[in-house]
Amino acid sequence: MNTEIKSLQQSENVGPGGPTPIAGENAVDAFVRRGYRHGFVTDIESESVPPGLDEGTVRWISARKNEPQWLLDWRLKALKYWQKLREPNWAHLRLTPIDFQAISYFSAPKSDKDRPKSLDEVDPKLLETYEKLGVPLHERARLAGVAVDAVFDSVSVGTTFKKELRNAGVIFCSFSEAVQDHPELVRQYLGSVVPSRDNFFAALNSAVFSDGSFVYVPKGVRCPMELSTYFRINAAETGQFERTLIIAEDDSYVSYLEGCTAPMRDENQLHAAVVELVALENAEIKYSTVQNWYPGDEHGRGGIYNFVTKRGDCRGDRSRISWTQVETGSAITWKYPSCILRGDHSRGEFYSVALTNNYQQADTGTKMIHLGRNTRSKIISKGISAGHGQNSYRGLVKVARKADNARNFTQCDSMLIGKNCGAHTFPYIEVANPTAKVEHEATTSRIGEDQLFYCLQRGISEENAVSMIVDGFCKQVFRELPMEFAVEAKALLEVSLEGAVG
């Protein structure tokens, strides 16, 4: 028996003259004026490849990174495929066409040749940048018990806690280092979850990826600390194409957090990352993202185009992968962290908060592909739209023919703040096994004038009321984040919403 429900659509778009205006909307504009806190440019000489993309560019990048022949071949194959593709246009996004020949595909701080051996040798200005970002490498990382592998533009500049991790047998390094030091692992797993021909942006990334993180957790090891990477795009007109690969062997556990910030620039910058996770038997990977790329200004000028392919493969029985994301930045977010539930009894989870303010657009969600028996997935998505923001949830739950007793629960809530924003839900459900149980719940609410007034009447200021209501709305997702990042995420949301209601 085949049950197939495709593309249930549910949209609420509030335009001028739309449904009931909310009290306080006049102040919507007032709130937004607060500038982007991470908008500074670090004045470090960087070395970039000239704009444009052809075989020569790929060869240049690969040679510069001293890569083995097989990897160059892999890149070139991806490039060849990419050159035949067209940009996808199915997402609910409006964007000016990207000129892929106008982008520089590699940028590294100039000191690359004699890379710092320790943090002491790192350009103090760079460290200052991290300070401004709130990521002082030495102190905060140590205090928080977090190992940070910071990616500054395209080259990883400093890694902490390596020793402690090495003692546990965990490999945590930049992708480039992994290519040099653990080529057999990279070769075995690279592209095994997201093939280079997966989609337009994955193919592009495969051809030109610059750096990223690599994690390998051996059998039976519980990674002793949260692993964390801060990505940051600095140089103007460069794309950042990082590539992350996490492998959790049988019975292992790892929790990984990435945070992203980009400086303020008028032009749009492209970010097309690929993240691959492999969880073998009984292994668990928790992957958390706090994304705060520059969202553009209040008129929609500038901002990051964030086109990311993230996918986890629950390859082993009883394995488990969970994605938690807090997306407050970027002019455009296009990302669907997904789980392939291949192993029997494997579990996939997706917790998401996506906030769009001003002219930001987000088309995000997940795919849960049930292949094994008794697989379970859970999707909790919270979309918040303010200003002229457009927020779409797009999710696929697919139950294959052999996936007996698959279970999915999806909860998809949208919150609208103001009258010019929109929330859209595009759930796709494909079920090919009659024993499957798939539940989908969706709500759309407006930050109610009644909720706001209730808080005001009790003496709470409007600003505090809004952040309280939004925080409550996102609670289910925040509690999946490691404690210190939950605090950060909450603060980030507050900053992003400042001025959204007034």
């Binding site: 009290a23 306080g24 009644d450 007034f453 005001l456 996102c474």
Partner: protein, 264 residues
Amino acid sequence: MSRLQIKNLHATVDGKPILKGVNLEIESGKVHALMGPNGSGKSTLAYVVAGREGYEVTDGSVEFDGKDLLGLAPEERAHAGVFMAFQYPVEIPGVNNTYFLRAALNAQRKSRGEPELDSMQFLKLVREKLEVLHIEDDLLHRAVNEGFSGGEKKRNEIFQMAVLEPRLAILDETDSGLDIDALKLVADGVNRLRGDDRSMLIITHYQRLLDHIVPDAVHVLADGKIVASGDASLARKLEDQGYTWLEEGGIQPVKERAEEAAAG
């Protein structure tokens, strides 16, 4: 001096006149009841006093302890001591009730120049209040009104009132949707919160709440004006004869009286 003095209050909602010259005075420490048929403007009066957006005052004045209340933002009115118990208390999913109430109390304390309470001090205060009101403390651990029964929501309002200790409490149809047991519990809570320095305006459609909370005065609002005022017996009369007798001229309208008072 009156705690609350409303003079010739006119207000519109979406341009439609709802209040058409309300005069009302409540002395410090007194409990007044405001009754009237549906659509007479009872809740509108409550919202206007509390400062809800969308309720536009076109004429008249509202003074609180001699100060102009209409010039204040809603949260400033709360800081001044105005509290409104909602007819439909609002759910705020994911926001803990205790957290919410502490934020409210501390905002009010801060505005008065008093030190904020830390969570231990606050918890102590809250436990005292719960005990006095005979309310279960599981209320503290839940999200604001989320999944509460009608009775729980109303009790939560009274509990908030107990913690915030307002100088003027407006209870907007607090009895609506309650069975008799829940009604008694709520009324009992209100009675415990009566005090010399707390005035109350109890808005109700039915007299039955006033069996449990005996008011010092009763007013009848019809078509945006106070058409009758009297003591607690007026409420019983309304109960016996319904609101229609007002329109049939069965009672002498107090309009003139109120206007005289306003003029004097």
